[in-house]
């Protein structure tokens, strides 16, 4: 509602301004007959007709906002989206806004390729800090950097444990009591695993990106920080918490043999799960809709198992404002973004995609409350948010993330011992971070 009032007010004031001849120059950009054209880059990270849904939302926005003409531009995966965004900024054609993987935002800030949203937030009469209270607190470290709001959270996920009720019963486990700790999980997995290879106890994706995401979860469950959440130049790969986490992975695959060796991708996990060849899997909450639609036998979800604490890293995407846009386009982008993250629209997008809504108030709406009571699995995913931890982001994020992922993948293939893996990962990461560290933390003063 506030949106409409603000817009009406804008138009009224424009009507007044029109009467004044001096304002003639302004009318070109602001008068409804000549709407401000903006483009929104968006990736499609989960399977489904998301692109259609996004177009439908943008069409609805355009009919409600005569002074803006927004276009949704599909830009591939998260990585492709970042590549295209960077190239477009360099070529002088920055998009008005981008739905950017939340762990890339810090790099955009470091490279000076984005503007903060603060001045636009303040124009609405709010401080940035008050505005950000609209979102779950765990989203803050990936969005608010150096006290400025660079990312407006749009769609988010955490890893979640999915388990097969039939497999639990068959193994003599109680499907109402999912494993809560690493030890419980390992015990259950041993019972779930069949020696003839017809069923595994545990599977989760070990492909790039997923691998780093889940590794950070294990390390943080083990009490660690994994990386410096406030400064992009430090990672804690060679720490006891990391060593313990990698030792767990080594045990699962190579000692207890409750998880298939080598690297599985998300498709392999879901295929095995649907086929009844898997007891528990760790997968994104963004997969909830897909699992719900395709799993023929009963399944349940639970929090990720803990070691010293519960921890589930955030994933997903935030809206950023690329540098180089005119104030008119920035203002129009802000109107669009405010509309997209309004509780109604955010809730609708969440129900359609399976992502959780970053906007807390979305869950107070009747549609959303009905959805949560109809889908207890989504409710558990939401409850796990109280244990949410931020998503790995550093200088040169992808390469630094891979430094650890390569070692974890080597563990999955029994090619390296955990103690050597953490040393190698730290060494590779330090090397990659050095240019940034030398420009910042180690920069000589005076």
């Amino acid at each position: 509602m506030t949106e409409i009032t603000r817009r009406t007010a804008l138009k009224t004031s424009l009507g007044g301004a029109l009467a004044v001849t001096a304002a003639a120059a302004m009318t070109k950009t602001a008068f409804a007959a000549d709407p401000v054209e903006i483009d929104l880059f968006f990736p499609v990270p989960v399977q489904g007709k998301l692109a259609d849904k996004m177009k439908e939302l943008i069409d609805r926005f355009n009919t409600q906002h005569a002074d803006i003409k927004a276009t949704a531009v599909y830009t591939g995966s998260y990585d492709d989206t970042s590549l295209k965004t960077r190239a477009a900024i360099k070529a002088g054609k920055p998009p008005a806004a981008v739905i950017m993987s939340a762990n890339f935002v810090r790099e955009y800030v470091i490279n000076g390729d984005v503007d903060p949203w603060d001045s636009l937030i303040e124009k609405d009469g709010k401080t940035a800090a008050v505005y950000f209270d609209n979102f779950w607190p765990a989203l803050k470290p990936n969005a608010v950097i150096d006290d400025k709001v660079y990312g407006i959270p749009y769609q988010n996920s955490t890893p979640l444990m999915y388990y097969s009720v039939d497999a639990f019963k068959d193994a003599g486990l109680d499907p109402d009591k999912p494993p809560e700790t690493w030890a419980d999980w390992l015990d259950a997995a041993k019972k779930l695993t069949k020696a003839d290879g017809s069923r595994w106890g545990i599977m989760f994706p070990g492909t790039y990106d997923y691998c780093g995401w889940l590794t950070s979860a294990f390390v943080m469950q083990n009490g660690g920080q994994y990386y410096n959440h406030d400064y992009g130049g430090e990672v804690y790969y060679n720490a006891p918490s990391s060593l313990g986490a990698l030792t767990l992975l080594d045990t699962l695959v190579n000692k207890a043999k409750v998880m298939p060796p080598g690297v599985s991708d998300a498709n392999a996990c879901t295929s095995a799960f649907f086929a009844g060849r898997l007891g528990t899997m760790l997968l994104s909450t963004g997969s909830l809709s897909f699992v719900r639609d395709n799993m023929k036998t009963p399944y349940k979800v639970a929090f990720l198992p803990k070691a010293v604490r519960n921890a589930a890293p955030i994933g997903g995407a935030s809206l950023i404002l690329p540098k180089g846009n005119t104030p008119e386009r920035q203002a129009a982008a802000w109107t669009l973004i405010n509309w997209l993250v309004s509780p109604e629209i955010a809730g609708e997008w969440s129900r359609f995609t399976g992502y959780f809504s970053p906007r807390k108030a979305a869950y107070d709406l009747p549609d959303m409350q009905k959805f949560m009571s109809d889908h207890p699995d989504a409710k558990i995913a939401l409850d796990q948010l109280k244990f949410a931890v931020p998503w790995f982001d550093t200088f040169n994020t992808v390469a630094v993330r891979k430094a650890m992922e390569d070692q974890v993948q080597a563990i999955f293939s029994a090619k390296v011992a955990p103690a050597d893996a953490v040393v190698a990962a730290q060494k590779a990461a330090d090397e990659l971070l050095r240019p940034y560290v030398e420009q910042t933390a180690l920069k000589a003063i005076g």
Binding site: Y74, P95, S287
Partner: protein, 272 residues
């Protein structure tokens, strides 16, 4: 001995063909199976089968528009390329100019550049030419082809000079000579190049994704990925296979129809 050699060659070729055909066979089988069956990897499932995936894939995207854009893109690139490579190929094959051999040996070096390296400079050029986010913008970087020039030079050089000398005696200019004497004789080379060019640009993903933004300028590969990519969840393989079939079908049909001509082109142009 000869027959035994032939049998071995035939067996080897059949084995290679079998390996080559497996992905296509799987695509065909998977596209006919509804949902996400547990034995999705199977080549010989028991069913059920249906055409639902094709309906879903077709309605998930704007295939007619994507086909049109892709035809325009590939056709436009090829049309300009045929002109540029014939002319440049002729220059390198027949004309004597200072530095010819140096330039010609430098020419294929551009094949060594990895395309992503050129994304930003190419985009900047497109913006200054006002071709950003337009179909001609996708085509522009490919108007010259090092591979094509190389191929045409070799093809022209293989044609005996007598034909040209005879035409020149009759007063033919160089453009007439190329158009009416050399190009008809070089047809196998042109056809071979056309296949390589068409398949390369038909299948290209990254550059079209970078060069255009507006939905009305989207091509098949980018369009397909709008409803088939799924990093965070599993994939609906049946729909992916059906969509991939739509993308691959025109090239498959083209190849089947002109199979004999293509093969003879490759044989006589020396590409195998």
């Amino acid at each position: 001995m000869r027959t035994r050699g032939r049998i071995i060659a035939l067996l080897a070729a059949s084995a290679a063909a079998l390996i080559w055909v497996v992905p296509f066979a799987w695509m065909a089988v998977a596209s006919l199976r509804p949902g996400v069956p547990p034995d999705i990897a199977s080549l010989t499932p028991s069913g059920p089968f249906g055409l639902g995936n094709f309906v879903e894939a077709w309605t998930s995207g704007s295939f007619p528009l994507w086909y049109l854009n892709t035809f325009l893109m590939c056709g436009g690139i090829l049309a300009v390329q045929l002109v540029t490579i014939s002319m440049a190929g002729y220059a390198f094959a027949r004309l004597d100019f200072p530095g010819r051999d140096v330039v010609f040996s430098l020419f294929p070096l551009q094949l060594l550049l990895i395309p992503p390296l050129l994304i930003v400079p190419n985009l900047q050029t497109l913006v200054s030419l006002h071709l950003y986010d337009r179909l001609p913008g996708i085509m522009a970087p490919y108007f010259a082809s090092a591979f094509g020039v190389f191929l045409m030079r070799q093809t022209f050089r293989a044609i005996p000079k007598d034909f040209e000398e005879a035409a020149m005696l009759d007063g033919a200019s160089i453009p007439v000579l190329i158009r009416h004497v050399l190009l008809p004789l070089a047809r196998p080379g042109l056809v071979a190049f056309a296949i390589v060019s068409l398949t390369a640009h038909w299948n290209e993903f990254l550059w079209p994704l970078m060069a255009v933004s507006s939905p009305q300028n989207q091509v098949l590969t980018v369009g397909l990925s709008t409803f088939t990519s799924g990093a965070e969840a599993g994939s609906d393989w049946g729909v992916v296979a059906a969509g991939t079939f739509f993308v691959a079908a025109p090239l498959l049909i083209l190849f089947l129809v002109f199979q004999r001509r293509f093969i003879s082109s490759f044989v006589s142009s020396g590409i195998k």
